[in-house]
């Protein structure tokens, strides 16, 4: 169908060109197939070209170079650089898969991977679960509905780094309001970001707070596109609320859900500011996820460019595998994506 419209528009153009006498002249010499393709698609290519260029230059090239760096032993010390007028040539060498082997055999990587998966699954499950719950409440007939909706999406309106700083203050062990409330309730203060377990809970909580509004609103959109007649008919047939949820709501939400869950997973997996700004990966490196770790590897201490690039490649491959598996799973259910 898309193909036919493309042709339709070009035939429309041919027709106008044919009827306008002056422009009809260049129809006399018949262009070769290549020129015809060029002539027809010239505009399309011209319009896509800037993005292709930008992407190729800024993603393609760095990506290729990143993959190459990951196969070398480049660090800050061996990377070529210019100091004033002195040009110091690069001295790093090609080392094959050494970086990958040392990463994949280190327990650090597997620790980080486990925590990253726990982090992603916990966050996305809570985002989606809470978002669905709130969306279903807001989809009812309830007074002040739009006020509730507006207030509930406010966290989404706060820029990510500002939210991170707010929460860091709330978690502050001496002056934070959370400990203030605990003390007022007669309980002891908790060093939220000083202990690995509470720090993990803390960062998950912040990310959930930041992410639920998006899920809620997206699911609400999905819910409102389900025709109300379906529910009425089901009710007439005597379906219980659970059955209505199971057989109308869930299937009706499938397209929206599958998209937002995939997006949410990718975003959470790569979520940088929350962890970087709240816990800084600490205490130790217990809350560091793969992305923040790779960043730290490249830009703190002796900058280990090759190691960081190898981490990056591994992260990217994990995500590509995730997306492919997910896509296949959707296909089996008859989704087209």
């Amino acid at each position: 169908m898309a193909l036919s419209t493309g042709r339709a528009s070009s035939t429309a153009r041919d027709r106008t060109a044919g009827s306008g006498g002056a422009r009809g002249q260049d129809r006399h010499q018949r262009p070769g197939p290549l020129r015809r393709v060029m002539g027809r698609h010239w505009y399309a290519w011209a319009m896509v070209a800037p993005v292709i260029l930008v992407t190729a230059l800024l993603i393609g090239w760095p990506l290729a170079r990143g993959v190459y760096l990951s196969l070398t032993d480049a660090t800050e010390a061996t990377m070529g650089r210019t100091i004033g007028v002195n040009v110091i040539p690069s001295t790093y060498e090609f080392v094959g898969l050494d970086n990958y082997i040392s990463i994949l055999t280190s327990s650090l990587f597997w620790d980080k991977l486990t925590w990253t998966i726990v982090w992603t699954v916990a966050c996305v499950a809570l985002h989606y679960g809470l978002g669905l719950g709130l969306a279903m409440l807001l989809n009812r007939r309830v007074r002040f509905r739009s006020t509730y909706r507006l207030l509930l999406i406010l966290p989404w309106a706060i820029p990510g780094f500002v939210s991170a700083f707010i929460w860091r203050y709330l978690y502050n062990s001496d002056y934070g309001v959370i400990n203030g409330m605990l003390k007022a309730a007669g309980l002891g203060a908790v060093g939220w970001l000083d202990d690995p377990t509470t720090a993990k809970i803390a960062v998950v909580a912040v990310n959930v707070w930041m992410g639920v509004p998006f899920m809620m609103v997206a699911v609400l959109g999905g819910l409102q596109s389900i025709p109300g007649e379906l529910y009425e008919a089901a009710e007439v047939d005597g379906a219980t609320p659970w059955q209505r949820f199971r057989f109308i709501t869930v299937p009706g939400l499938r397209t929206v859900s599958s998209t937002v869950i995939l997006l949410g997973t990718i975003w959470t997996f790569n979520m940088f500011p929350v962890i970087f700004l709240i816990s800084g990966g600490g205490p130790g490196s217990s809350t560091e996820i793969l992305v923040t770790y790779a960043f730290r590897e490249a830009f703190t201490g002796i900058r280990n460019y090759s190691g960081s690039a190898a981490w990056g490649v591994i992260i990217l491959m994990l995500l590509v595998v995730l997306a492919l598996v997910y896509r296949r799973a959707l296909r089996r259910q008859g989704e087209v994506w």
């Binding site: 760095p62 990143g66 409440l137 989809n139 707010i166 860091r168 997206a218 490249a298 830009f299």
Partner: protein
């Protein structure tokens, strides 16, 4: 199309059609109680931020729970006069503004091309846009840093803008495509029949129709640049080139922190963003879900 999913049109049937008998009083109370709890959780951090920012200079240095404590604008005056905040703000505004303008332009031409033309390489472009959204900062940042260094773009606003393009444009092009898909093709054809070139059709006919989606895309680009931390941290090492995201980290460092300054500047940053956000949020959601339900 975009207004169908989340606009008022979408909410009407749910309200009108489902005439289940009235809820019992108990269930109504429960429903409102749940919603109020959720609202409390979602608002509390923000309210607390504002309250803290209004406390006097060292008001945050208190382990007592107090909502008000001699409210003053002391923190705000300090932020605006005694710190680099105005410089950072200016840098952030420039970076975000440029990202928005260029990003919207690139995203709309690309979105239009992949929505309307079936040219060779069409699928490739669509895939590229989808896949680049998955790229973690970690893999690109080092080579991009080296690339910027060799082009002399470190500590330059232009360098940061270019880096943000890689984040914002693929997603925005995707959003624009799904919006263009919802504009009937007959309109393009009418434009062509009237003698406009394809680009003329796009510029004079389709773009004005796509204004809501342009607003959303612009907003997304703006927020991407406004809230980014990782690239900014690495690329802008000079004090006077910093953006807000990095600058604020200085108020709460390892050895010294001043939450009064931080909370006041956080309010200054969040309020305009939140206002614009609340104005466009309906379209934002519609744009996202339109893309999600169509594809």
């Amino acid at each position: 199309m975009s207004s169908v999913t989340a606009g008022p049109a979408g909410s009407a049937p749910a309200r009108g059609v489902r005439r289940r008998g009235d809820r019992g009083v108990g269930r109504s109370i429960l429903l409102h109680a749940t919603l109020l709890c959720a609202v409390a959780v979602s608002l509390f951090p923000i309210v607390w931020l504002v309250l803290t920012s209004l406390k006097p200079r060292d008001g945050w240095l208190s382990s007592e729970l107090e909502f008000f404590n001699q409210p003053s604008l002391d923190n705000y005056t300090r932020v605006l006069t005694e710190t680099q905040f105005p410089t950072w703000l200016l840098n952030s505004v420039m970076v975000a503004g440029l990202t928005t303008v260029i990003g919207v332009f690139l995203a709309s031409t690309t979105g239009y091309a992949i929505s309307r033309f079936r040219f060779p390489g069409h699928r490739g472009v669509m895939w590229m846009l989808l896949i680049t959204q998955m790229f973690p900062v970690a893999i690109l940042i080092v080579p991009l840093y080296n690339l910027m260094a060799s082009l002399g773009l470190l500590n330059q606003i232009a360098g940061l803008v270019i880096a943000y393009m890689t984040v914002a444009v693929p997603f925005c092009a995707w959003m624009m495509k799904s919006y263009f898909d919802s504009i009937p093709r007959e309109i393009d054809q009418a434009g062509m029949v009237d003698g406009l070139t394809p680009f003329g059709t796009f510029w004079r006919v389709i773009l004005p129709l796509a204004r809501p989606s342009l607003a959303v895309t612009g907003f997304y680009c703006f927020m991407t640049a406004w809230g980014e931390v990782a690239y900014a941290t690495v690329f802008m090492s000079q004090e006077e080139k910093r953006t807000l995201g990095i600058g604020l980290q200085q108020f709460v460092g390892q050895h010294w922190s001043d939450w009064g300054l931080l909370t006041a500047s956080a309010v200054l940053i969040a309020v305009p963003a939140a206002i614009v956000f609340l104005l466009v949020q309906r379209h934002l959601v519609a744009g996202l879900t339109a893309g999600a339900t169509k594809s």
